[in-house]
């Protein structure tokens, strides 16, 4: 277990370093410059040079990259056209646009994304997996057909369609729900929940569809396993057979996929955030890309990569806990 962890952590760090370098290179490969974007169309070359200098873009790429890395681990001093800023570790730089420290942007937007994804996950893991398992147990019945039919429908619905319709019906027409907004859970849990309800339902339902079909398929396959027949031959009741023997085995791959999905979603759910005008990580990242706002692009890309890599390690370890046949090493 320990060796496995060390090995995976080393691999994870290498991945993150590689991703940061590639992102950096890609950024400078674009035939455009943040200075042009910021300065506007009729900008003199002198003005552009000035802006580039203030952003530190006049330095060689290698210097910029080492500065960036140095900032993360020990902090750095940034000279913004005469204004000296002390940026303490972990320093991710300052936004090219708002001059806000990137760490502040992240700490502001990450809780929003975490709130959306967390709630949605609770929905699709209960509704989706629950429906799928039930459908498998009642395979071929009306319940199964309705559940699977509905899940095909939801799976082929886009977030912006479902989100838009829900907004129109539940917020604008009937006023049943307040406009989606973010209040920290620590301030007012009830308001936090009511503001998050629509994104939860939207992201939750669309993912439920996928998870329902996955769980149904897994469960149907597991119910045909020999060990399920053995459990029945022992004289166990169908409930015990299904829960203790079939479900336990069918759930394993679902845990894996849910873990990997969680990692991917924590890096930002751009469309959901945009549909409901919530400034989560995804929306910040998308905005930063259009603005060529390098410090935020770097931060959001690395954060997303960090979540995916971390969740993968956690899922692998979890797998070894669930399935005794899996040995880590």
């Amino acid at each position: 277990m320990f060796r496995f962890l060390i090995k995976r952590l080393l691999l994870a760090s290498t991945t993150l370093v590689a991703i940061s370098i590639v992102t950096f290179l890609l950024f400078f490969a674009v035939p455009s410059s943040p200075a042009w974007v910021m300065c506007g169309r009729n900008c003199s070359p002198e003005r552009i040079a000035q802006v580039e200098q203030s952003l530190g873009l006049d330095q060689p790429i290698t210097k910029q990259y080492t500065d960036f890395v140095q900032g993360i681990f020990v902090g750095r001093t940034i000279d913004d056209a005469g204004t000296i800023r002390e940026c303490e570790a972990p320093c991710l730089g300052y936004s090219f646009r708002s001059k806000e420290p990137v760490t502040d942007t992240i700490t502001r937007s990450l809780p929003i994304t975490v709130s959306i994804v967390g709630g949605a996950m609770v929905i699709f893991l209960t509704v989706g997996v629950g429906l799928g398992m039930l459908a498998a147990l009642k395979k071929g019945t009306v319940f199964d057909r309705v559940a699977i039919g509905a899940s095909v429908g939801f799976a082929s619905t886009q977030t912006y369609t479902l989100g838009g319709v829900l907004l129109l019906v539940l917020v604008y027409s009937t006023g049943l729900l307040p406009n989606p907004h973010y209040t920290p859970i620590t301030e007012n849990p009830l308001d936090w929940a009511s503001g998050m309800l629509l994104p939860w339902i939207t992201l939750g339902l669309i993912n439920s569809a996928m998870y329902a079909r996955l769980s149904r398929a897994q469960m149907i396959e597991t119910l045909q396993e020999d060990f399920v027949r053995t459990a029945r031959a022992k004289g166990l009741s169908p409930g015990v057979v299904n829960r203790r023997h079939a479900l336990r085995a069918a759930i394993t791959p679902i845990v894996t996929i849910a873990g990997v999905d969680l990692g991917a979603y924590l890096g930002g759910v751009v469309i959901t955030e945009s549909v409901f005008s919530l400034n989560g990580i995804g929306r910040e990242a998308a905005q930063a890309v259009t603005d060529l706002n390098l410090p935020i692009v770097m931060a959001t890309v690395l954060l997303a990569a960090f979540f995916i890599v971390t969740m993968n390690i956690i899922v692998d370890m979890l797998y070894a806990v669930i399935d005794p046949r899996v040995r880590l090493g």
Binding site: F227, R229, T230, R232, A233, K234, L236, R248, I322
Partner: protein, 357 residues
């Protein structure tokens, strides 16, 4: 038409623990009705072993599954009678059958690796089988019983082994554990479905010996399902040969192994190598494949693969042969060949091939 088509006159021992009468198991499917078992009658006494032999799809496993009532009633049509210790379980409610399963009737499956749950320790799985029929037993008592059973089936260090997972066992040890689980409630009837097929030959003999020893100890009735006539000759008292969902020959192990009368039984015997015979002699496989159970050949189901079909006029292709006495008491046969022809063919073509010698 002068041939009599009176129904099977197979006698069922009224004292036998298991009595199966005219069992039919059918599965309606989109392609048609699958007649997996189409009229089987047999009985097994406690302390006796019945071997059911046949190829894949002959209906032997379906028969055993229906004795445990394991078929989904929504997708299966079962008729006839399965009497276990005097109770007919055909049409019985699931909750009632559950009380029999694992307690009065237990089963050993072919591949112990896939038949044991990969996520639970062996001891826990055996204890679970005990506890379900002994709800008053504590967890500790059930576990002690499980360790005790592992010891009885010859697993060394049972205490330690009970705490291991199935994948940490060797194939033979796993099948022993499976047997321990089946016997944990002292079942009166044990069904072993190809219990040695997935094992090494050397381990096979050990498992069969173990089953025989345990049968003496527990005095249970055993149904041994197999396609391996070597296994049958070693453990069975009586044999039922099945083909296409129907019995084609039945009798004592002596009658079936030494004086087989049905061309299908001959085929099974001739395709197994013998230790005593001519090492250079070729084995004779049964040509062709088992028939589709949706669309059985008319007449004798074996006729497309039978070398002697048509010997007795057109009967093989038009009329289904019923089980009739093959001469000796207890020896029954469903074949259109005349007695003289059967004896002549057996002596000329069969007696020298495979284990038939």
């Amino acid at each position: 038409m002068t041939t009599s088509t009176s129904p099977a006159e197979v006698t069922v021992d009224p004292d036998a623990y298991l009595q199966v009468r005219d069992l039919k198991v059918q599965f309606p499917t989109e392609d048609g009705l699958v007649r997996a078992v189409d009229g089987v009658t047999f009985s097994v006494r406690r302390g006796q072993t019945l071997g059911i032999v046949g190829e894949s799809g002959s209906g032997k496993s379906v028969t055993s599954m229906s004795i445990l009532g394991l078929h989904n009633p929504a997708r299966t049509k079962i008729s006839g009678e399965i009497s276990i210790g005097g109770t007919n379980i055909v049409g019985m409610k699931e909750e009632q059958i559950q009380r029999l399963r694992g307690k009065d009737v237990a089963m050993i499956f072919q591949d112990p690796l896939s038949a044991l749950h990969p996520y639970y320790k062996v001891g826990v799985q055996i204890a679970e089988a005990y506890k379900v029929h002994h709800p008053k037993a504590s967890k500790k008592e059930a576990m002690t019983r499980a360790v005790d059973m592992l010891d009885r089936v010859g697993i060394p260090e049972p205490q330690r082994r009970a705490n291991q997972y199935p994948h940490e066992f060797s194939g033979g040890m796993r099948q022993r554990a499976m047997i321990a689980m089946a016997l944990v409630n002292d079942p009166a009837l044990l069904i072993a479905d190809e219990p040695t097929t997935a094992l090494d030959v050397t381990v096979q003999a050990q498992i069969l010996e173990l089953l025989e020893d345990l049968q003496e100890e527990f005095h249970s009735a055993i149904i041994m399902i197999t396609h391996d006539l070597g296994v049958i000759s070693q453990v069975a008292d009586d044999v039922l040969v099945m083909y296409g969902g129907r019995p084609v020959e039945t009798g004592s192990v002596e009658q079936i192994m030494k004086r087989p009368q049905h061309p299908y039984t001959w085929g099974l015997l001739a395709s197994v190598p013998s230790l005593h015979g001519d090492a250079g002699a070729d084995l004779v496989p049964i040509k062709g494949n088992p028939p589709s159970l949706i669309n059985l050949p008319t007449g004798c189901a074996f006729n497309p693969r039978c070398r002697y079909a048509g010997t007795n006029g057109n009967l093989s292709f038009t009329e289904r042969p019923e089980l009739r006495s093959a001469g000796e008491a207890g020896h029954m046969l469903a074949c259109h060949l005349s007695a003289e022809n059967r004896q002549r063919i057996y002596a000329e073509d069969i007696a020298h091939a495979g284990v038939a010698q």
